[in-house]
């Protein structure tokens, strides 16, 4: 079933926090595309543009003490959870002041201090990890929960299915959030997913499966609030499928595949009409929560923070050679 937004009262604070974090992601990603084009960092980067409402709506429904894990499209989830833009950007630049001291890069941001257990370059690989964080909550009788973001492609991985089964059997406080952005690189989920909807698979695991408009931050927030309540009260996991769309190509450096036939330009244009930022701003302005000028000011502030982050990243040194052998283990081990 599609989750329709209910006319509940969402506080202005939550709405404006979501707007701020969505703008932070959008400006961050636009800047990443710009500086990648200028050759300022190496490797891959997977823009989250178009999908911002999913992580932001979900994280707005969680506490700082809750945990998340994510995937290779890894900038949006941490920013949604409250990560520091400068440390995130410095990581993408491979610098010592990055979240992972330059050892993780774009696909592997993590900030354990605000519950971000890390993004995984292997799709679905972080799903069991998030499930384990929820297991820890249950075994210790604590009331934190965990959530994991994964894609339509990952939804076909065994690790994903095993985790959902395990979480349901043990009634773990975990939320499985499938960001169905329609394509695993170039392959449509319609060609790879046996069910009509990925959320339908929840039935097999005896948990609620909720299909949500992933362009609508408020819908994501409300669906997640329900899943969080369920998790925190010991009723177990929920599968949320957020129908969304990747506006950019799978990864920077792969722009050439846009010329291929896996999706039409017209389809992209159609989805761009439902830009998650436009939808949220329209709601905020139309409901009289804030003025367009206030929304613009939030955008400007986010943009300034991103500019600051880039300067921070550019000025941060590369890791020293002495870093090479550090962090393999919790204490120094002899170099083999």
């Amino acid at each position: 079933m599609v989750y329709f937004r209910m006319a509940t009262n969402i506080s202005k604070d939550v709405l404006m926090l979501m707007l701020e974090r969505m703008w932070r992601i959008r400006h961050f990603e636009l800047k990443v595309i710009e500086v990648y084009g200028a050759g300022e960092f190496v490797g891959a980067a997977h823009p989250y543009i178009g999908e911002e409402a999913v992580a932001v709506g979900a994280c707005a429904a969680m506490r700082d003490t809750d945990y998340i894990a994510g995937n290779h499209r890894s900038h949006g989830h941490p920013i949604a959870k409250g990560a520091n833009l400068s440390k995130a950007m410095a990581e993408i630049y491979g610098r010592i002041d990055g979240y992972c001291k330059g050892k993780g890069g774009s696909m592997h941001l993590a900030d354990f201090s605000v519950g971000i257990l890390g993004e995984s370059g292997i799709v679905a690989s972080s799903v069991p990890v998030a499930t384990g964080a929820a297991l820890a909550a249950k075994l210790q009788g604590k009331d934190f929960i965990s959530a994991v973001f994964f894609g339509d492609g990952a939804s076909n991985q065994g690790a994903c299915h095993e985790s959902m089964n395990l979480a349901s059997v043990w009634k773990l406080p975990v939320i499985f959030i499938c960001e169905n952005n329609q394509y695993a690189v170039t392959t449509s989920y319609r060609d790879t997913v046996s069910a009509d909807h990925i959320s339908d698979r929840a039935q097999a695991y005896n948990m609620p499966g909720v299909l949500v408009d992933g362009q609508d931050a408020i819908a994501m927030y409300e669906a997640t609030v329900q899943a969080v309540e369920r998790a925190r009260s010991g009723q177990g996991p929920t599968l949320i499928e957020a129908l969304t769309y990747r506006f950019e190509e799978h990864s920077l450096g792969l722009e050439k595949i846009r010329k291929s036939e896996y999706r039409e330009e017209s389809e992209i244009d159609e989805w761009r009409l439902r830009d998650p930022l436009d939808l949220l701003i329209t709601n905020i302005v139309d409901s009289g929560t804030a003025t367009r000028a206030e929304c613009d000011a939030i955008s400007d502030k986010a943009n300034a923070a991103v500019e600051e982050a880039v300067e921070f990243a550019r000025n941060s040194p590369f890791p020293d050679e002495s870093e090479l052998y550090k962090d393999m283990f919790s204490s120094e081990m002899p170099v083999v």
């Binding site: 992972c100 001291k101 292997i122 990890v129 690790a159 095993e162 919790s330």
Partner: protein, 322 residues
């Protein structure tokens, strides 16, 4: 101090640590019934919340152990080496790499107990001795106890360690007996080899199930007037290179006995280190006594041909003395 079975020693180590630290919990397939033995009594003593039967779902619970460890628990996961392949991505992409890839943010005190059943007609799908694979990956501490006392002491160190550890428990040793300290403070440190028998003519490094064969080979050769120094490294990551190199410096000869398959075995790595660092100490070519590079055949006529034995070790030692 009392004589215990290797299996009982493992069990003692686990239950002592579970008593000492409420963050330690135990999970795996059929562990409440202790089908494989070393979890005997755990469920009765510690209850449902600390002893968990999992679904047959290695990717799921190997990874769940990583997540639980990342947020402060200390899981012990029981599995068999041959089932590790099923959950391999969680061991490699998460358990092994998480700390380094996230710049040291993740602390993962998780122990995977990998029981190696081989030598008893279990055929290719249940007879893996896979520790060299994990040595190559990095980020995992690799423990290979060869005696009951080490089984207990290394298990306790593994549970107290803040890094992911794989305890490779050799099925051919589970029924062996030895003196095991009762003292709950008894531990065996990682990275410290055990010289089981001092000697002057040949250095014999023996891993896991090869240890009793190596000791027996040394006894045979002692009667022929050859003095063999038998070293059990006990942990392969970290590896106590110094003890091995010092011994080779004294004897000038090296034989390594390793139940893993010969190619890229633990023996290969040890011999490579000695070749790089102590070549000029060697008076004869080094000898590797590892398993034949074949899958484990079922037939009792074939399987015993695969593994190192007392006699194949004796033969290899004699080659170094020719």
């Amino acid at each position: 101090m009392a004589e215990k079975l290797f299996m009982q020693a493992l069990s003692m180590g686990i239950s002592e640590e579970m008593r000492a630290d409420p963050r330690v919990f135990f999970m795996g397939e059929d562990v409440r019934a202790s089908v494989y033995g070393a979890a005997a009594g755990l469920h009765d003593e510690f209850g449902d919340n600390r002893v968990l039967n999992t679904p047959l779902s290695e990717a799921g619970f190997f990874g769940a152990a990583v997540g639980a460890a990342a947020v402060g628990m200390r899981p012990i996961v029981e599995t068999l080496t041959s089932f590790m392949w099923v959950g391999m991505d969680q061991l490699v992409s998460q358990a092994a790499k998480m700390r380094y890839m996230f710049g040291g943010q993740a602390t993962l005190p998780v122990v995977y107990r990998a029981v190696m059943y081989y030598g008893g007609g279990s055929a290719a799908h249940h007879s893996d001795r896979s520790y060299p694979v994990f040595m190559n990956i990095g980020g995992l501490k690799i423990v290979v106890p060869g005696t009951p006392a080490d089984a207990k002491g290394l298990m306790k160190t593994a549970i107290r360690d803040d890094d992911p550890v794989i305890m490779f428990e050799d099925g051919t040793l589970l029924g062996t007996r030895g003196e095991v300290p009762d003292d709950p403070d008894f531990t065996v440190p990682f990275g410290v080899a055990n010289v089981l028998r001092p000697g002057t003519d040949v250095t014999l490094v023996a891993i896991a199930g090869s240890v009793p064969h190596a000791v027996a080979a040394a006894e045979v050769l002692a009667k022929e007037g050859v003095s063999v120094e038998v070293i059990d490294p006990r942990t392969l990551v970290p590896l106590d290179k110094e003890t091995i190199l010092n011994s080779v410096g004294k004897t000038g000869r090296l034989v390594v006995a390793d139940p893993a398959a010969k190619v890229c075995s633990a023996a290969s790595e040890i011999m490579s280190i000695v070749g790089e660092e102590a070549f000029w100490d060697l008076q004869a070519p080094m000898q590797k006594v590892a398993s034949k590079q074949v899958h484990i055949p079922f037939s009792p006529a074939l399987e015993p041909l695969v593994y190192p034995t007392r006699d194949s070790i004796v033969e290899a030692i004699k080659k170094t003395l020719d």
